[in-house]
């Protein structure tokens, strides 16, 4: 009996992970969440989206995210390493511990964002594609390209930090992405641009300050698609929080005159989670890639900016 229960649990877990493996490569988080919830835990009253993008309201999306967050709750009993004592040591495994904003409407201090006309047009089109047409646009992630740090840090999947003398490296569970920060160096002023931008960092006391610029293509800053231009400057102020240093806070400041009338900031928080240090293998190019990828996942290419 015990074995049967375990087998059943293992089967359910496999299904959930399979769905997560597929779903999280979708360009839009709504697709991932609706797939995971509808297929893994069908219940009356839960959103019955027929298509990956089939979520009818932001409230519904928020509920789905909350559910996903609960699935990531830490195991009850484990003997696991404590975070390092040195607050300038960010090494370890971290995962988001809050329901991220699907769309940033105001900055961290409650001030409404001032989108430029171009940004508003892009955002409106993306929101309509997702919530009205139910066929979201694909962003870099759906094409198995590194989607940028702001998007990557908003996913409810773990990441790991490694530090060496000259660099700090974030390795993400999803999209096999590495975000490597050069310490105490200036931005490159020429040459090829990267999908993850050109991140340079320095320590301000116990806060790591990372400035990322020169992205290869425009960014999605949140799941609804708040736009960032390729020339946006994103500054990440990262510090450990809590008495034991087992929290991580990242304040992201977006300085992008093309899309926003003034710089604005948002905050995300993360928990120390050594129990999640072994990542799912994410072979995006095999699992979700290929010429028919967008169609298979109910996505479509985004029209060129007008």
């Amino acid at each position: 009996m015990r074995l049967d229960v375990n087998r059943h649990a293992a089967k359910a877990r496999r299904m959930r992970v399979r769905l997560a493996l597929i779903g999280t490569c979708l360009a839009h988080l709504s697709g991932a969440l609706s797939l995971a919830v509808v297929a893994a835990t069908p219940q009356s009253g839960s959103p019955q989206a027929g298509l990956p993008g089939g979520v009818d309201s932001e409230k519904q999306m928020q509920a789905l995210m909350q559910r996903l967050l609960l699935e990531k709750a830490p195991p009850p009993v484990e003997s696991l390493p404590l975070p390092p004592a040195d607050r300038r040591n960010l090494e370890g495994t971290w995962i988001g511990n809050q329901v991220s904003a699907l769309r940033h409407r105001q900055d961290k201090d409650g001030r409404p964002l001032a989108l430029t006309a171009e940004a508003q047009r892009i955002l409106d089109r993306r929101v309509k594609a997702t919530y009205v047409d139910h066929v979201p646009y694909a962003n870099a992630a759906a094409y198995c390209r590194p989607p940028g740090a702001a998007w990557q840090l908003g996913l409810l999947y773990p990441f790991q930090v490694y530090q060496s003398g000259k660099a700090i490296i974030f390795i993400f569970s999803e999209y096999h992405t590495a975000w490597t920060i050069r310490l105490e160096q200036a931005h490159r002023d020429a040459g090829a641009r990267d999908y993850m931008g050109d991140p340079v960092g320095h320590w301000d006391g116990e806060t790591l300050v990372i400035d990322t610029a020169r992205h290869k293509q425009p960014l999605w800053l949140d799941p609804d698609g708040s736009p960032g231009s390729a020339d946006a400057h994103l500054t990440f102020r990262i510090r450990r929080t809590g008495a034991g240093g087992d929290g991580l806070e990242i304040v992201t400041t977006v300085d992008d005159p093309r899309m926003y009338a003034s710089p604005w900031s948002f905050v995300r928080t993360y928990s120390w989670r050594p129990d999640m240090e072994f990542f799912n293998e994410y072979d995006c190019e095999s699992q979700v890639g290929g010429p028919d990828a967008l169609e298979r996942f109910g996505l479509r290419p985004e029209p060129a900016a007008q």
């Binding site: 590194p146 490694y162 096999h176 293998e281 072979d283 190019e285 890639g289």
Partner: protein, 249 residues
Amino acid sequence: MRAGWTRRLAATAIAVIAMASSADGQPPAAPNIQGVWQRDGAGMLLVPLDGRPIPFTTKGRALYTAHRAAAAKGDYTFDETMTRCASPGQPRLMLAPAPFAIFVRPRMVTLLYQWNRMFRQIAVGNAFASPALGERWWAFGLKQGHAQAEWRADTLVVHTGSFLDGGLLDSFLPVSDQLELTEHIRLRDRNTLEDRLTITDPANFTRPWQAVLTFTRSSNSLPFAEDVCLDRLNSGQSPLPKADIKAAN
């Protein structure tokens, strides 16, 4: 289902052995395998260490022959790394002609490859003793496999299983879900890293066989230039170098 349980039991057994041999999974005197490494040589083929022919089973030889014949015609549909930049898996990723970095930590050794930003996680010691750890992936077949290691003196001994059927060990050699890969990774000298592979796959080989890869400590340093294989592929470049068909076994 049975295969999944067998793998989990095997992983647990390895973990128990590791616990017995090293209380905290740490080497007695940590060898400095950390750093950035680059493969010696550019060949994309594994060569048996003993100089003997690869001990193919009938099935293994048929697959190998078919792969070579297809590649000779320019047909790489058997190889989704070459056609769509999918993960080469292990040990093929170690053949990529691009640097990788090694990070040694108490519970994990991590290899970060420049090639398409891939990484490999190797659990050290008893890190996998609890089935509640990780992102719950051990019941899956994997391109890179499920790697569990222990330090034996100055050598990191890595056992990797749970491979997906249908992959490739190198440009042509087939992988089945029975593959068990054992690696002895150590420093030959301060600037030379050796990875001695023992390949056991009864579906494709009649007996275990060995190959050795060596790497030189690289002058490259982190960060690596961002490599996006799909962009290279779309611009007409090969994801990995094409193997010399004539040099194949």
